[in-house]
Symmetry: C2
Subunit: 419 residues, 2 copies
């Protein structure tokens, strides 16, 4: 899996790989190349595999600074934006195909998005980009495309849709709004600069205009680049350390990707679940710290499990307190989301949203090879019992098949649309 | 003005002042203190005036990185967030006082906001902060408070309101929505991290809950920290270099602040104009580059005036082209916004907004000592004739008196409320 765009969770996307120097290492070690020798440093990146490597883009009138210059490769066996260490900003857009769409129109749209995504991710303007200067700061831009059930219907390829590609079953906790659910196509646009995300999303939506119309748009954020130490686990809007137990895409790629050699067009692809989860922060405010920690099973201060001392200590679900009850509550979120089944795990890639007082929550995004086998059992358990449900409400839900990455000369989804 | 929190536009807020070393200078010069000697570097800042200086905050469990650690001083003769070099993210909130508000309730609210703003800007939790860990990354957080006409009515001090504190006159270009206009109180919350802005805004709104209710909220962004080179002028969502001709708060403080020695409670204060300006990007797309450059009077590539070669060249409004017409159009934005009157200038501090396809524009914010003398004449000229009006529409408008900064032992607005 060395030619894979996935990156270990603990490293920045431009972090060290075989034979590649660590830019962070340079910074922390106090190297002097920040003074201007960026081009020279870039050359050392260029000597290694292009797939998924992060490289400074070509120079531009915008004079992007270090964090703005970093790029993620568009072409490779996997789509970018899945194993990529989460950028600071995400826009997730669902689009619906216009009436009369067919395989030919889908191919045309995929060719356009392929071209524009590749250009934009390299820090170059899209084709016919009306604001080309706004493309000059790639800031680790990634564009990830997914297919809802409608794509297979429009392409007249119903038999090629994976079995798990259907709306999630209704859960008791759900209060789904149509305005935040479903969609024929997914565009996930992520970068470390919100100007970049805004521009790229606009270019891609504009170019799709004759083929598809926006259905919903969700904007999420994490910490800005350079504001928290590398490797710090993100805190969600409830203040919880969120993502400690996440899988490492480099260590367990089989949990995310359909193997390259597997049969069918989805080899090298994955699936995306996007759920909008509202957080009732005003009622959460009424819960004291002990209650909050009991709800999750982790300490607020550093995310350590209530049975451990450090964030990454394995929770001891058997440990009993002096009263004989579990130290980690029977309904605690980490107990209910865990399982002995090593397949009931998936890559979480959530962002926070804050659209004003009372309108805050999580743009929950997960990637997994198989929604039915990996995501659903966990979601069923949490729906059945999870203390956190008292303060969180899913208000949107959508699922997508994510086609494999795009090799040289190929376009997005080619294995499906021409297979 | 050495003890003033204003900063030259070209420098980061933590940039060099008299006797203060430049952190950027360290970075560019390849100094090694990034490896861990932050505390030592902080000490060199501490030796100079505390007013408005940017200093690393105390350590925390969040381990904020360099850009996250920077703070702006809350106390000083001027409120922060005006002369402060614009941070990457802004939330502007208007609140309306609850019925029955009086001077006493205003004093209580101002004491609360004073305390919480000071804490949060230092990277410490607000009082009774329910998510204290989210306060650990100050990232140059600033909180700026303004008073609408309703404050003077509630405080029974109608005679103390400045003459210019009234809704702007209706302009022909306006299509104002009540939902984006007016308000008794302004909270401008800015930082280089969106998590910080979100948390701080929530704390301040929550603590105000018994006194005031949110009326509108506008979220804006610029480039993330470290993504564009320091000193790069921001591009707005239309792709224009925006802010080249802005005033330098350090060089022309009299354009912003009521002089310290002047009579009345507003000495050391200013005024804020907040307008939400929608941009019709889809129709702007139909304009070619020559047309776009003619609209503004500047080149898209680098912001240089059509009569000059570099961004900061002074536009030559007299220059004629071969056909006898002005090189800069008679209705070009830079011609119409300029004047021979040196007082018809103000500090612009705008942000972009992007709330989805078709909902993009500018959170326009300006600061000036006198709205009537400085802002209105310019706005009247632009309303009368400005090519840009074809694609921009003001949809919200609000004005506020911004009380002076808060000295040791004082609270926000004390000179008004106890004067």
């Amino acid at each position: 899996m060395t030619a894979d765009p996935v990156q270990p969770e603990q490293l920045p996307a431009d972090g060290p790989g075989p034979g590649r120097p660590s830019r962070r290492g340079f910074l922390r070690g106090g190297a002097t190349f920040l003074g201007g020798a960026i081009g020279g440093a870039a050359a050392t990146f260029g000597g290694t595999a292009a797939w998924g490597a992060t490289r400074p883009s070509s120079s531009s009138s915008e004079a992007p600074d270090q964090a703005g210059r970093a790029t993620v490769a568009f072409r490779g066996p996997r789509q970018p934006g899945v194993g990529t260490t989460p950028q600071a900003f995400a826009t997730l857009l669902a689009l619906d195909l216009v009436d009369g769409s067919d395989r030919e129109s889908l191919v045309r749209l995929m060719r356009i998005w392929t071209d524009d995504a590749e250009r934009l991710m390299a820090g170059r303007p899209g084709l016919a980009d009306t604001e080309p200067e706004l493309a000059a700061v790639p800031a680790r831009l990634t564009v990830t495309v997914g297919y809802g059930p409608g794509v297979f219907a429009a392409a007249d390829l119903p038999g090629r849709a994976p079995a798990w590609l259907r709306p999630l079953p209704s859960f008791g906790v759900d209060r789904l709004a149509d305005a935040w659910s479903g969609g024929d196509l997914l565009l996930q646009v992520c970068a470390d600069d919100p100007v970049t995300v805004s521009h790229a999303a606009r270019v891609l939506v504009k170019q799709a205009r004759t083929f598809a119309r926006p259905r919903w748009l969700q904007r999420g954020f994490r910490n800005s680049p350079g504001t928290v130490a590398p490797g710090t686990t993100w805190r969600n809007p409830m203040g919880q350390v969120d993502g400690t137990g996440n899988i490492d895409p480099a260590a367990e790629p089989h949990l995310i990707w359909h193997p390259d050699g597997s049969a069918g067009w989805l080899a090298g692809g994955t699936s995306a679940v996007v759920r909008r989860i509202a957080m009732d922060l005003d009622r959460w405010d009424e819960v004291d710290r002990a209650g909050r920690e009991n709800t999750i099973g982790r300490r607020l201060s550093d995310g350590s499990p209530l049975t451990g001392r450090h964030e990454h200590d394995t929770p001891d679900l058997e440990a009993k307190g002096p009263n004989g009850f579990g130290v980690i509550d029977a309904a605690a979120h980490i107990r209910r989301s865990r399982t002995q089944d090593p397949h009931e795990r998936f890559l979480r890639r959530p962002y926070g949203y804050d659209d004003g007082p009372g309108d805050t929550g999580l743009v929950f995004v997960s990637y997994q090879a198989d929604i039915d086998r990996q995501f659903l059992p966990v979601q069923r358990r949490l729906d059945e019992l999870d203390l956190l449900n008292e303060w969180t409400t899913p208000i949107g839900s959508a699922i997508f098949a994510v086609p494999p990455g795009v090799g040289p000369g190929e376009y997005l989804g080619q294995a499906l649309l021409e297979g």
